[in-house]
Symmetry: C2
Subunit: 342 residues, 2 copies
């Protein structure tokens, strides 16, 4: 059975569809009585205005698009949670797309969304992305866009990130304090500001400790997980002196654990690992496993708030609205307290 239409509702009430439409939209220019009759029958018949007809007329999709590299990862899952919450408060719908770090896919999605399916976009760019012309289209069309976490380096748009430089610094410092002298860095992508900034923090801490930064100890992450494990494994074999690893994203941290396991290097006795990560199970990590945790849920919420401010007020998002939240170094919880804020 097809859903009932405005017209049918109007006929059943002996009213014109215009009046019914007005009543349902709570217009001032309709009598309280008719309003009551309309609403009563609408409720009874489970009437829902057809969303696409309405969108077409109003030129509002009531939908935002969320584009993520992946979701099988606690950071982005928590972010979605925050985004969905804010969207719901604004009576908006959330379309989710995954790029799997594939640039061409990102371009496709953006182009499609720019065609009217979404009123705004939240984007965490694919690590493969190094061209950004597809984003110009969004600017031209005036579609508000907020970047979060994985941001175009040097972008002129609003962004929500964490204190990436500081996070990299804190993580490295933690390893140094634990006695590591040869710390490898697992880089996500040089196109991304998170890649650059976290690495700068790492270099900063290394220099401060009077240690030399060695490009041989940097592994550039790929899209394929097995490949990453192999690369890290190779690093560990060629550089047995490595006693610490800093992973700039969760997936690389997991690859590092795996690689260590494969070559029989114990964590944390032989190698200490710190990674950016939002594992729900962070509290359960083995002794010595430590994470830099981002406030993913809040980041999702804040990014969405900025976006909706632009959508509802019909103003562009300004770079000045950008936010930088604080990351936290989480050491395995044992009998004593867990969170160290240096």
């Amino acid at each position: 059975m097809k859903p009932i239409s405005l017209k049918q509702l109007a006929q059943a009430l002996n009213l014109s569809s215009a009046t019914v439409s007005r009543a349902l939209n709570d217009s001032h220019e309709v009598s309280a009585e008719t309003k009551g009759r309309v609403l009563a029958l609408a409720r009874e018949l489970n009437y829902e205005p057809h969303p696409f007809a309405s969108s077409l007329r109003r030129q509002k999709s009531k939908t935002i698009g969320v584009i993520l590299p992946e979701v099988a990862n606690n950071f982005f899952s928590l972010a979605i949670d925050g985004i969905e919450e804010i969207a719901r408060l604004n009576n908006y719908h959330v379309l989710v797309y995954l790029t799997h770090d594939d640039h061409s896919r990102e371009v496709d999605i953006v182009q499609h969304l720019a065609g009217g399916r979404a009123d705004g976009i939240l984007l965490s760019v694919a690590s493969e992305t190094n061209q950004f012309t597809h984003l110009d289209l969004l600017a031209e069309r005036g579609i508000p866009t907020v970047f979060f976490d994985r941001v175009r380096a040097g972008s002129a748009a609003a962004t929500v990130t964490t204190d990436d430089h500081r996070g990299g610094y804190k993580a490295t410092q933690h390893l140094l304090q634990a006695g590591c002298r040869h710390i490898a860095y697992l880089l996500v992508s040089n196109n991304l500001s998170i890649g650059q900034k976290r690495m700068q923090g790492y270099q900063h801490a290394m220099q401060e400790a009077g240690l030399e930064y060695s490009p041989h100890l940097v592994v550039q992450g790929q899209r394929d997980k097995a490949e990453n494990v192999a690369l890290i494994r190779q690093l560990l074999e060629e550089h047995p002196e490595v006693d610490g690893i800093f992973a700039s994203v969760e997936s690389l941290a997991l690859s590092a654990y795996e690689a260590c396991h494969e070559v029989g290097r114990r964590i944390p006795e032989d190698v200490k690992v710190v990674g950016f990560s939002n594992m729900a199970a962070a509290a359960l990590l083995e002794p010595g496993l430590t994470t830099i945790t981002q406030p993913a849920y809040e980041m999702g919420r804040e990014a969405a708030k900025i976006l909706f401010k632009a959508i509802t007020k019909n103003k562009p998002v300004l770079p000045a609205q950008s936010l930088e939240l604080e990351s936290e170094l989480v050491v395995r919880r044992s009998t004593e307290a867990a969170r160290l804020k240096p």
Copy 2:
């Protein structure tokens, strides 16, 4: 700058909009030459057909709705991943909604989606849900719906689940073999088949071992996490003999870890814990922590496949299409192999 419309494209080409529409939809009844001209200009101008206008006319939203209790949880994240992949292959879009186990929210979402925003629905019901009248609307409207994981007990629709009875049995058996004699059960909800079936598996294993099933050792999970921790804590304090815990969902497993920690009971020395869970970090669990892992990604894929079969062939989903996949008992990976398939 507003996106260009079909009409404008037609004018620029001195063609009628009908012809242009046909050309873009690769109709047989249009000359190869015109087709070429149209496609060339369309590409140049970045033309995208307005999705809602098209949907309105074709009565197809090209969108599916995915309704989940939560997403900050590896199981549902992985499921979304699988769902999105199949949707993309079908050129469909994915709307994500979270109920946070709130029944009224589930009803709202379903009613709205039934109004034409989605061609089909994938649903994992809220644990609070015990009335299912809102689902009748979907049946009336002929909107294909596939349930996964959290299924309406005794539903007549297609479902994708894991071998919940067997999973509960395996988990409990594992605890028994490890020497546990007083095993508590953390129940998610009696409205859900996963709650019932997993508990049956638990009871089955207990009986087989000649142990008595005690309702005092069953904790009924609530929506609030802190409350769950408190309840489990109370259990542990009132029943110091408890030496094993079986958690029927991930969130309860995490609450159990926390509660044990709070009352100073060590895992696994004092209490062994097994939970249904899809933690990416499962490989990193502490010794003695064991999980029952569901093939979440595959479940998402399979559920979506069933749904799209119905959508594209315009046939209803049949209960006979239901699938039951196999869960896996994953013991902490150490130097030896990890996966035990009994």
